[in-house]
Assembly symmetry: C2
Homo-oligomer: 348 residues x 2
């Protein structure tokens, strides 16, 4: 049986506004014993997706390639040999190397991760990348105790917002640095209401961090860097002796700068994390982390980022908005029946 | 009994050419039961000593302060309670926090480290800082196997030369980067003869490192950075996945720059080392390392850096030469009887 599936594809690397097309393909729904048929419901447009399309991510697809990485869906059918999944299970894409911008897909069992059925669409569709990035950085590089301070830049990014919430759930204190902007007071309030302990603009923190750090019971032990450049240097300068800095992004597109004296006299340690390879290298920990994060989401300790829902037919507009920046994350809905109400009020 | 001792002191931080004076003081040689009387023989002028005098090292002395950090000497007398040392023992200053530019000093037992009597003056007087810095970097941050590659900048520095020789003794391969200079060919030959496997100028390496690294059986697993700035970035770019960079100096006086992508996609780890605090924090390892290094020195696997000997009376000239750079390390001899012959031919 053939199933008609709309999908968003590209046949060469380049500007997503130019190389992406909305296609209709026929999926062979007569699946093999070791396959599953998934109906994808929704997928956010992430910076990673843009990098993959532009060819800036170390990954070379076969063409035509389907876009996307994260998605939430429902298992429509399972092959005779499949034991771990059943029709109706809620699943997410299990790897950033997947391609998910299609209404239906036939996949191997391990391409998806079964998620709790009480998780809403927005939370599930953004579970794969940012929450585990934040969780890994807060737990895997230095053993923190409740009351310890963590300092981060890019605090309003999707990862930064997860850091604030997960840190708060773990009893950690966060010092959050954001870029200045017209609505800075509202932003500060918003991050405090997520559980942030302090929020500063880059300028405020650069100017006053030495004085500010002295008002704390102890300097931060962990710095999380999503920006690079001088911003990383200021983060590191605020760390205490033996402090650790973990880099997960480079929004400034500049190399990380760290004072040599921080390394030599403060015994600083620096690491980087890419969540995809990390999860592949630590499968047991990965499973545990995804369970913990779903629990936090269902309990309301962690929430998805602010998102705008867009039907698949208006994908081009959603991509335009994403590339323009400063807009809410765009959540593409692949079927008409994934209504706003279903996403946020009823569960999947 | 009073003992006359010439010493080099300062009473305020500043330019060593201005603040240092040659004084004659009286040492009380009637030592207490827990004290030792040491006759210092020779001490090198290190960049560290200059930093301490200039006030650029995180250390605030009581004035008048005696200069110097490293020295070799002979135990002249021991107090009644001292068991670990005897008159005639050869000793070195045991900490970079010591002050040693004096002919005689009364010290506690733990201010010195007994060294082998078959170690020559030049080797013993430069044992405390640079050889253990090199050894710690080569052994403590990543477990290397014979045949593994290490890449370092500042390869002609005292630490860099120790790295080449210790790496060679451990069966490791070194890729050495130096600044270009008129006598570059002689320098390259010199570093190769110490055991270096490859020597490049900064310019050569920056231009060709990608191509060159591909000719190796595997990319370097460890990078040692004594320069900072862009030089560190090039070092890190040549590391393989999961590589480690250790910073011990900042000759360029610029912050370390590392590509965010090296951290994120290559799982790079970065550390810094300051040998003094490290040795204090790891006393058992420190003892073992000093034994291993003396063994290497006596076997000829490790040699002291090229040095010029200067009598104490000509200290000012030696300091001038040190500050001018590009001269041999200056080894100050505190007594007339530490002749050239005694230093290099007969042993201490």
């Amino acid at each position: 049986m053939k199933l008609v599936s709309n999908c968003i594809r590209y046949s060469m690397h380049g500007d997503p506004r130019k190389v992406l097309t909305l296609n209709t393909i026929a999926i062979d729904a007569d699946i093999k014993p070791n396959e599953i048929l998934v109906k994808w419901l929704a997928s956010p447009i992430n910076p990673l997706d843009i990098n993959k399309i532009e060819g800036k991510y170390p990954l070379r697809p076969d063409y035509p390639a389907t876009g996307g990485s994260e998605a939430v869906g429902i298992v429509e059918n399972v092959g005779a040999d499949i034991r771990s999944l059943h029709k109706g299970d809620h699943v997410i894409s299990n790897s950033i190397y997947n391609s998910v911008w299609t209404q239906y897909d036939v996949l191997s069992e391990d391409a998806v991760l079964k998620v709790r059925s009480d998780l809403d669409v927005a939370s599930a569709s953004t579970l794969l990348i940012n929450p585990p990035t934040a969780y890994i950085m807060l737990t895997e590089y230095v053993k923190l105790s409740p009351g310890d301070f963590v300092v981060q830049n890019s605090a309003n990014s999707a990862v930064g917002r997860c850091v604030i919430q997960i840190a708060s759930a773990l009893g950690l204190k966060t010092i959050n640095i954001v870029r200045d902007r017209p609505d800075i007071d509202a932003l500060k309030k918003g991050l405090m209401s997520l559980g942030g302990d302090y929020v500063f603009t880059e300028e405020e923190f650069t100017k006053n961090n030495t004085k500010f750090i002295k008002t704390l019971p102890a300097p931060p032990r962990l710095a999380l860097n999503g920006v690079g450049g001088r911003s990383a240097m200021v983060l590191c300068a605020s760390l205490g002796h033996g402090g650790t800095v973990v880099t997960y992004g480079a929004m400034s597109k500049k190399p990380i700068e760290i004072l040599s004296s921080s390394f030599i006299f403060k015994d600083l340690r620096a690491f980087g994390v890419a969540v995809g390879p990390w999860m592949q290298m630590h499968p047991e920990k990965a499973g545990h982390i995804m369970t913990v994060l779903q629990d936090m989401l269902v309990k309301g300790q962690l929430s998805p980022p602010p998102m705008e829902q867009v039907p698949m037919a208006q994908f081009a507009t959603a991509m335009e908005k994403t590339l323009a920046g400063r807009n809410k994350k765009q959540l593409v809905l692949f079927h008409d029946d994934v209504s706003k109400e279903q996403c946020y009020k009823s569960k999947l």
